[in-house]
Symmetry: C2
Subunit: 415 residues, 2 copies
């Protein structure tokens, strides 16, 4: 077993802070950014990454949906061996944080820079990857580039995705990042990704790094209540078909349903739209979403069934019609033992406290896990916050997680 | 007492159907229209009214905020006597019905046309009035023109009201209905208005016409819940500050509060806005409205206090901050005995079943009641519907209500 590798913490910090400049937003506290795929800020963030890859002496490829790959083959390696791929994404949610995505991309790049300067030698090439559109805020619901790389979304369908004004293909071309060919993840030996936890568990247990054992599954959908628009004054309460009251009742149910299902089940309504949305008119039509996540698909399905039952009952109580639409289903993902062991061993060798946990959020790793050994490392998220300007991971936590990640990647590339 | 007057039902029907053409919308059932004040459809509806007034041989005046008045002085009358004013409005809510407003305007005009052709003689002039912007869907929250006529809103402030793009003054000038001078309602002897009930009570009791004894008061306001935007996956339920869950809890309370207050108390949330409104993000900020109406101001205040208490408690439960804003308060209005008696006597003489009831909606009559004897007649609303395409009053019900109204107006003009 090799001596543990240690990355340069200033290099990762510098890359993250430089990337934070692109799409930076005004905030009262913290640092935030809005970097939707194909937008100018995303183009600048990508250009900076490509410059750093070239400076590091690794070969850069951009595929037709904008996935960026930097490949480094160790001098003693077999250039035809299946590579270990590692990375994350550079896009953000609107008003998102600066660590979600960039930490994983630049930890991977810094791992290669560090390995290149070390006496380490192993067999497999390493590919540093930045996937297009992980967050799902434009063109698709998320993990766009990795879906194409995994062969689950065709290049044609991906390029035709629209934000309502332009297609992904056009937006990528305008940003200068519509390359050629398709990154084919099925050629990889393993995928390993460093990401912020986006949850409170590492901090709560005062643990340095997280060994991610899998990703929760989820169900997403929308419910529409169809009531009747009436004047809010002269219409007696018993004469109403109020779509918003029925919706509100179900939204409180979505808050309540996880209580009785699983210890870590979560349920959320993130979106609501009411029509005609006027102070003086009883709402006629209200659409809102459900989302439930858990490690157990049976729990997810139970939550989905319960919310549909609650919606039927609320609609009956308020005299409105209900319709629902399933939007997304993702089975829970279990990561490969080879990867969780590599991460756990790396943390142990480095002297870091670690714990095993599931990821509560989806990641590009979801699609990779279908094709190859896949693993993730979590860095601590202060207060568990993400997807807003309060998202924060201390530079020490970034360093510990990046070291764990780099050593796990070396392990995976050595076998 | 004179023999009862009977209007020409075809004339009122024709005027309402002609007016329905302006701003007509596509509907699946019924007939609907969108006629916001100052919009082209509103200009066309006004022009048609003015043409009918001129054809009827009455003198037309348009004031600076677009209130239209047609004055007719009976040959034997005292031209300096305070007139009886009667009318309603021609604007509608978006996708509103065709009776709300036009029935009152054209019943008043038809009353004058009928009286002119009759042997009736009385002392006071009659003014047929169309007030600007009763519905509150553009420039102001409602009863705009009557507020100016009552001296409760200054001409300058009214003309400066903006819809976010243009001022009322500019919009009226563009529509050709920014006249001169200010219609001064304090010079009137009485105000009488025919309107659809917009509620179910006349139909439920199978009564022909309604003798309106007053108008409920109301409180309107908005509550904003300030929570924290977080990723909907990895954030445990106990770590959330979900602004939408807190809001939904209060919206169900607004549905519930009237139960324990008054038999005809109503409570409504008509408007909701959530930020960032994304399926995958816990809502950070949600604003929604309350509205409560009752005949008793103490009940209205009790409802307002209860919803603020509920909002505080819901905010505490969900760990969010709450702020609230009072938007409008209207005391209940009691109409003059002279008017309710005139309406009741007219119905009796005509052989119509009538009942006394409060109006659940505000009307231009609200402001008139502060200045003079004021009364209203209600026509039946099928299923109590209004403010949408299902709004319907049979032509027979229009006829009975218009006859009652015309005879009551004659009574008031005779004293």
């Amino acid at each position: 077993m090799n001596e543990s590798l240690r990355i340069n913490p200033d290099a990762v910090k510098n890359d993250i802070l430089r990337t934070a400049d692109f799409g930076m937003i005004d905030t009262e506290n913290g640092i935030g950014r809005t970097v939707l795929p194909g937008m100018p800020a995303n183009g600048r963030a990508r250009t900076y990454l490509v410059d750093q890859m070239i400076a590091a002496g690794i070969d850069v490829t951009v595929d037709v949906v904008g996935n960026i790959t930097g490949r480094w083959t160790p001098p003693a390696a077999d250039g035809t061996a299946a590579p270990v791929a590692a990375g994350s994404h550079l896009d953000s949610v609107p008003k998102g944080g600066i660590f979600d995505g960039p930490l994983g991309v630049y930890a991977a790049l810094e791992a290669v820079r560090t390995i290149k300067d070390s006496p380490l030698s192993f067999n497999r090439p390493i590919e540093v990857v930045c996937f297009t559109g992980e967050e799902g805020t434009r063109f698709a619901d998320g993990v766009l580039g990795s879906s194409v790389a995994a062969g689950e979304l065709s290049v044609e369908d991906a390029l035709d995705l629209s934000d309502g004004r332009v297609s992904l293909g056009t937006a990528l071309a305008e940003a200068g990042f519509r390359g050629t060919g398709r990154l084919d993840a099925s050629e990889w030996h393993a995928w390993i990704e460093l990401h912020i936890e986006q949850g409170p568990y590492l901090e709560a247990d005062d643990v340095d790094v997280g060994i991610v054992t899998g990703i929760v599954g989820f169900t997403w959908g929308a419910i529409t209540m169809h009531g009747e628009a009436d004047h809010s004054g002269p219409t007696p309460m018993h004469h109403r078909s109020d779509a918003l009251v029925a919706a509100a009742d179900v939204i409180t149910a979505i808050r309540r349903i996880p209580n009785s299902l699983g210890r870590r089940t979560v349920g959320t309504t993130g979106y609501i739209d009411a029509k005609p949305n006027s102070i003086n008119v009883i709402p006629e039509e209200v659409t809102f979403t459900w989302g439930f996540r858990d490690t157990d698909p049976a729990v997810i399905e139970a939550a989905r069934e319960r919310v549909l039952d609650e919606a039927e009952l609320a609609a009956e109580r308020e005299g409105v019609d209900v319709e629902y639409e399933d939007r997304m289903w993702a089975d829970p993902v279990q990561f490969a033992d080879a990867c969780t062991e590599a991460v756990g061993n790396a943390a142990d060798r480095l002297g870091y406290d670690s714990m095993r946990l599931f990821s509560g959020a989806g990641h590009d790793a979801t699609h990779m896990a279908d094709l190859m050994d896949t693993g993730m490392v979590f860095a601590r998220s202060e207060n568990g916050k993400s997807h807003n300007e309060s998202e924060f991971t201390s530079w020490d936590d970034c360093y510990r997680a990046a070291n764990t990640f780099a050593n796990a990647a070396v392990d995976l590339a050595t076998v």
